[in-house]
Amino acid sequence: MDKTINIKLKVWRQAGPKAKGAFETYELNNISTDSSFLEMLDVLNEKLISEHKEPVAFDHDCREGICGMCSLYINGHPHGPDSGVTTCQLHMRKFHDGETITIEPWRSHAFPVIKDLMVDRRAYDKIMQAGGYISVNTGGMPDANAIPIAKKAADEAMDAASCIGCGACAAACKNGSAMLFVAAKVSQFALLPQGKVEAARRVKAMLGKMDELGFGNCTNTGACAAECPKNVSLSNIARLNREFICAKLKD
């Protein structure tokens, strides 16, 4: 309890989207190992503010690992060295005294830097807008129990749906591909009878938009699933490919 460590931070600072960025080095002492990574950054920012310097801009919101707002490449890993967590749930007990920690924004062509560690992830919204839904209006629905769905399919759909849209998959991919993100949504709907009706249209629209936005293609390296904070499985990409081939065969 109440163990503290001293650390050195190398943080990417960039004033704006077009400005030239560089690493700045900061030293922080007596950081409690019980604090979260973002609380450590809060401490850094309080320190910078007290020195009348500009604090480091980074995205974060719920700090419970569910909103998908936090990002950060920490020591070469999206969301840091711990597995199955977002940056906000990463705790300082995963680092050791005297360690130098390198913090960068998402590395992806499709997610340009806004400021410091903040990036623009609207590309994911655009993929969703292209087809990430079941086309039903509000009202007039059949009873929720009208169509039984096998528990296994429902559970698998839930696992796919647990994607938080943080962008770690594309940031981790050497091709900058958003396949795992797209696959998660396509799989969730493909597994459910409600989503099957327009499955072919959906998979083509979402993949088309992904290509159009400049995301790379998938070469099955698996980095996305390895770094996914929600452990979304690579098998979703296999399902996506199957859905895509079936959709194309129908054309």
Binding site: I49, D61, I66, I134, G165, Q194
Partner: protein
């Protein structure tokens, strides 16, 4: 002021509740309300601020109907609104379990759970539309938990004796929000909704007595921009972050509500804040937020503290572990005090009971401010696999934060601010006291009275957005079809923008020595100590004095680095904190006025000999509404009487 004349008789507010028996009010309303024909809908603009369950579902549904919607959120994507963090579930009166549920019972449980401080007609409507929400979500592809037969599963939540809570693992809020976000995305694609991300509403624009637009700050460029519409809808959530430490997201704030209040919208029951009993305890002064552990855990977890003080002391000193305490030396105080509901008493009751034990010296953790939530018995009864299937993700989250394995040692929990039942006053149509300004979801005050039941926030947010507002807003817009679109060059926009500009200039010029967070923490400590779980007249007066000092400190000593016309997170936080200070004062003022204990509002002077909340129905059976009277002036109190026509008020009893 036609709107105020319509609502006020003297100091007494009427809420435009339709005539007729309870079960027919909503049907009657819909049968007689005015509608807007499809061709005219295209010519009407609606601003929706917020993309949580209420905001996203409203924006999507209004877009589907054909209105032209402008939707705003402060995050980088509408999918990140804090509704996403809701864990446990959503209530509906489906009665799929055949365990005696009905629309009436859901209505009754909600009224009772709210300690008889909610409006009957609104709550009944909420229960009535609850079933449609589940149907809607399933059609959208929300992967609710299912039984092996393929039908939907349910779990139990506090304050109910039936299983009516639908859930998607421990991520129900996420899945429902993603459903609404999908529907919203579809409308954005169709062009009926224009989405503005990383925009923050900074003022409301009123033209000739009606809400006609907003000023919003582009959070990336720092520029102020003007947006006009025929109606404005606020769905920006609650103001729990007044306490600094809460289960709310870091950016959750009460500013949109306060802007509406300053422009004439009444703020109702500000003191009704919910303290959630099962949060991970505070661990250090650097802490930025508190993490909730879903109420669903109380289905199978048993809450206890040591029976003997010496055991509690030994645990606090680190000399004993919870697993060292034999069953007979454990005090399952909820089961002891409330045998009928046991660990599933409503949140306010569970929170106070935890505080009572900790105050009496039986608390655990080094701080003495924690109780145990133990799964040992559930694991013995059901096996570890079943417990893992039900709560696995929550256990993992707990372990990541606390570094202890809840399968082997009990979780430690403590109450924390979670939800605000109070908010902007709305009538039956969800319209505020400003014509053309609507308020939905947690941001309004309407359905939960003095205490919200678990799994009812998701229900209310989606009810408002999918099934109530899309009807009631048409009743207002029907006679607006002749009103042409407003130009944002009008003087009302210029004035509102100038006021915001002046405020930002004033803040930037202070250049003091205190960070925004350091002042916010100070406010939070005052709120928690004096306006938290146990309130007294004396304490509340102290709070009012201290908040005054904090306001002075803030406006003279805050330091905001950087430039105003740039991405400036400290400036964003400062603007929000300026409003939290006002909300904090309003909460304390309202709590001082309400000389009774009800739901989440516990005035220590008013309790039964057993320590239960003691309402004063003869004096306080009303909604307290505060009307802004100008800066530095005391707000005016107006009252909406709560006449219970259909339910007989009783003392809440969860014992038998």
């Amino acid at each position: 002021m036609a709107r105020i004349d319509e609502l006020l008789k003297g100091d007494i507010i009427t809420a435009k509740i339709p005539e007729g028996p309870l079960a027919e009010k909503w049907t009657n309303y819909k049968a007689h309300q005015k509608l807007v024909n499809p061709a005219n809908k295209r010519r009407l603009d609606i601003i929706v601020v917020g993309t949580g369950l209420a905001g996203a579902s409203a924006a999507a549904s209004l877009g589907e109907l054909g209105f032209h919607v402008l939707n705003f959120c402060i995050q980088d994507s509408p999918r990140r609104a804090h509704s996403i963090a809701a864990q446990g579930g959503i209530n509906a009166a489906k009665n799929y379990q055949n365990d005696g549920d009905s629309v009436y019972r859901l209505f009754y449980d909600t009224i009772k759970g709210g300690d008889y401080r909610a409006r009957e007609a609104n709550v009944y409507r909420l229960a009535e539309v609850s079933n449609s929400i589940i149907d809607q979500c399933v059609a959208q592809g929300v992967p609710f938990a299912r039984e092996y037969g393929g039908l939907l599963d349910n779990r139990s939540f506090g304050g109910a004796q039936v299983s009516r809570t639908f859930y998607a693992k421990g991520q129900t809020g996420q899945q429902l929000l993603l459903g609404a976000y999908s529907a919203l995305s579809r409308q954005i694609h169709k062009g009926t909704v224009k989405m503005y991300t990383r925009y923050e509403m900074v003022d409301l624009v009123i033209i000739e007595g009606r809400a006609r637009g907003i000023i919003a700050r582009n959070l990336i460029t720092g520029e102020l921009e003007r947006f006009a519409a025929h109606a404005v809808v606020i769905g920006t959530g609650g103001y729990g972050n007044t306490f600094f430490l809460s289960t709310n997201a870091m950016a959750s704030n009460g500013s949109a509500a306060l802007q509406a209040y300053r422009k004439g919208a009444w703020f109702a029951n500000p003191c009704f804040a919910q303290i959630h009993p099962t949060c991970i305890p505070v661990h250090g002064t650097f802490q930025s937020k508190l993490t909730l552990m879903s109420e669903s855990l109380r289905n199978d977890g048993r809450i206890w503290v040591p029976k003997k003080k010496e055991d509690a002391e030994a645990i606090r000193a680190g000399k004993k572990k919870p697993t060292d305490i034999p069953d007979e030396d454990r005090d399952f105080y909820l089961e002891r005090r409330y045998p009928a509901f046991g660990n599933l008493v409503p949140r306010d009751v569970a929170s106070r009971a935890a505080k009572e034990r900790c105050d009496a010296g039986f608390g655990v953790n080094a701080t003495g401010l924690a109780v145990y939530l133990d799964f040992k018995y559930a694991i013995e009864r059901l096996g570890r696999d079943v417990v893992e299937a039900r709560y696995g993700n929550l256990f993992q989250m707990y372990e990541k934060i606390v570094d202890e394995n809840p399968y082997e040692t009990p979780m430690m929990i403590f109450p924390a601010i979670h939800y605000t039942m109070g908010g902007i006053w709305v009538d039956y149509e969800l319209q505020t006291s400003i014509q053309g300004l609507f308020c939905i979801g947690e941001a309004n005050f309407s359905d939960h009275g003095a205490n919200r039941l678990g799994a009812s926030a998701l229900m209310q947010g989606l009810a408002d957005g999918y099934f109530v507002l899309p009807y009631t807003i048409q009743n207002y817009l029907a006679d607006q079809i002749q009103v042409p679109r407003f130009s944002t060059d009008r003087p009302e926009f210029a004035e509102a923008e100038k006021a915001v500009n002046d405020k930002i200039d004033r803040l930037m010029k202070i250049q003091g020595s205190r960070s925004v967070d350091s002042i916010h923490r100070e406010l939070g400590l005052v709120m928690w100590e004096f306006v938290g779980m146990g309130r007294t007249a004396e304490g509340l007066k102290t709070a009012l004095e201290k908040i005054k000092e904090i306001r002075k400190t803030f406006w003279s000593e805050v330091y905001i680095p950087g430039r105003r016309n740039d991405l400036n997170v400290e400036l964003e936080k400062a603007l929000r904190l300026a409003d939290f200070i006002e909300i904090g004062e309003l909460m304390a003022r309202d709590a001082l006025l309400r000389e009774e204990s009800c739901g989440g509002h516990f005035r220590e002077e008013y309790q039964t000999p057993e320590g239960e909340a003691l309402r004063q129905d003869d004096k306080f059976s009303y909604v307290s509404c505060w009307q802004y009277e100008g800066e530095g002036k005391e707000p005016k109190l107006l009252k909406e009487p709560l006449d219970y026509e259909f339910v007989v008020r009783q003392t809440r009893n969860y014992k038998a």
